[in-house]
């Protein structure tokens, strides 16, 4: 049943989700050199935002109508929280020692979890998420669930739109300039504060798509879902070369694949029987991170720091 092709496919689906979340880490880091450790919770609130919209819609509504509304709702919530975090938590700390925004991020992360835990109805454990009305599909030996179909369509689509936006739009060009040399970008007439807000907003948007995908994939959302997913997506961003959007997606895919392979096959290696299974997945994710950082500290697609100056 769990053939190699199936494991590879699982890795790609999972990796697409990590990649979508990783975009948020990498965009923000690329522009303001800040690790937004609350980004996992922004992903979580995106999932809850989508669920809220679904619950507000009339019973029995077609998922084809509900889906776009859910995405818009999730995006609205996640973008508002991401932009609010920038405006009220991180911006006042710009120029402060690096530790200050880092601690703020961790505090924000806990606060968002507790807010959902305490205020969202029946969110103490997990909330059931609606399912997309198609699938599963069988392609040879691979089974593809509806949530995975959503992921393999949404992730490349989002990525392509982002790539075009960054490369071809005026704002995208301004983002590149700000990432490379913020003071000089201001001399060009670029409002770098606005660019920072846009980076957070794009991160929030992608996180909302990922949060909704998570609900479709696992059938529920939990207030804790942002913790591990966020940590792994951060790993993916570093793996791919933080600051590089293609690296974030690549890092996500590599991480997803590695995780799927490790959880499925490590236990088959003699003497490692106890190390298989889902519980070990984060361990293998971080082992991979450490290995890549030892061999290639700048990440897969990252530039060496000296080249950035």
């Amino acid at each position: 049943m769990n053939t190699l092709p199936q494991q590879l496919a699982n890795g790609l689906f999972l990796g697409s989700m990590y990649g979508l979340i990783a975009i948020g880490y990498t965009m923000v880091y690329g522009i303001v050199q800040l690790i937004n450790f609350a980004h996992g919770e922004i992903f979580m609130t995106g999932g809850f935002g989508a669920l809220t919209v679904y619950l507000a819609l009339p019973d029995g509504i077609s998922m084809w109508i509900a889906l776009p509304a859910m995405l818009v709702g999730g995006a609205l919530v996640a973008v508002l929280i991401a932009v609010g975090a920038e405006r009220f938590a991180y911006r006042p700390l710009r120029g402060a020692p690096r530790l200050a925004p880092l601690i703020t991020a961790i505090g924000l992360s806990l606060a968002l979890q507790q807010l959902v835990f305490n205020l969202y109805p029946n969110a103490k454990t997990s909330r059931v998420f609606p399912q997309l009305p198609f699938g599963p599909y069988h392609l040879g030996s691979i089974t593809v669930q509806s949530g995975d179909v959503f992921l393999i369509i949404a992730a490349p689509l989002c990525m392509a739109v982002l790539a075009f936006f960054v490369r071809l739009s005026r704002t995208g060009r301004a983002m590149q300039a700000t990432a490379q040399d913020p003071d000089t970008a201001r001399l060009m007439g670029i409002d770098t504060n606005r660019i920072i807000v846009i980076a957070f907003a794009i991160g929030g948007l992608f996180a909302a798509v990922a949060g909704t995908a998570y609900g479709f994939k696992y059938g529920n959302v939990e207030y804790t879902m942002g913790f591990l997913a966020g940590l792994k997506a951060f790993t993916a961003a570093v793996l791919g070369g933080i600051g590089n959007i293609y690296g974030a997606m690549l890092g996500g895919l590599v991480l997803g694949l590695a995780e799927a392979m490790a959880t499925a096959y490590i236990a088959d290696i003699p003497g490692m029987q106890q190390l298989g299974g889902q519980g070990w997945a984060p361990v293998w994710a971080f082992v991979l991170l450490i290995l890549v950082l030892l061999i290639r500290p700048q990440g897969l697609l990252g530039e060496r720091v000296a080249d950035r100056a």
Binding site: R170, A174, Q176, D181, T184, M188, G189, I190
Partner: protein
Amino acid sequence: MTALLQVEDLRVAYGKIEAVKGISFSVEAGQVVTLIGTNGAGKTTTLRTLSGLLKPVGGQILFDGKPLTGVPAHKIVALGLAHSPEGRHIFPRLSIAENLQLGAFLRKDKEGIEQDIQRAYDLFPILGERRKQAAGTLSGGEQQMLAMGRALMSRPKLLMLDEPSMGLSPIMMQKIMATIAELKSQGTTILLVEQNAQAALSLADQGHVMEVGSIVLSGSGQELLHDESVRKAYLGED
């Protein structure tokens, strides 16, 4: 006639340390004015304050009749003040053409921008030959040309150049200075910061000598060029 740029008693500090301690000078339209002085005199600090990257702790800046103090940096270029920063600061991973386009970021006239990019290529042919190349791969002198070309792309009323000859070979330095002279002859108003006092003063209508945050001597370029104390301190004569 009122000056294009009027700086009155400008004071700028980094924390408690005052780097610019109350300087006053002005730039008339069409003039080249130079600030010379030793390392750490406060020249860069002055230019960065004029373009809004630093906030002054005191004094007045009037540009084209409008106060600049309190105006954010990204709005100052729109008023007609362009700044080619010390150390060039081209965008290394963007192409030459993209760097030039960024210099015209606030302009909407596509055709005019294209014409001005062509003009930059005419001024610096090497930039035209390499227009698709990443700017970070250019030599120091070529990067300096790009930084100047980029600053010109906003069609500024005042062009501020911070040490355009820094770190360049004598030939490249001559070329850059000749370009500044050419810009001057076309009527560009320039505020030039230079360590190469000889070259800067030869070009300048007005010069000011800065020492530890103050202007200690002012005069026409020719006067300063022949001033004994300037010759001793900056032109390496004894």
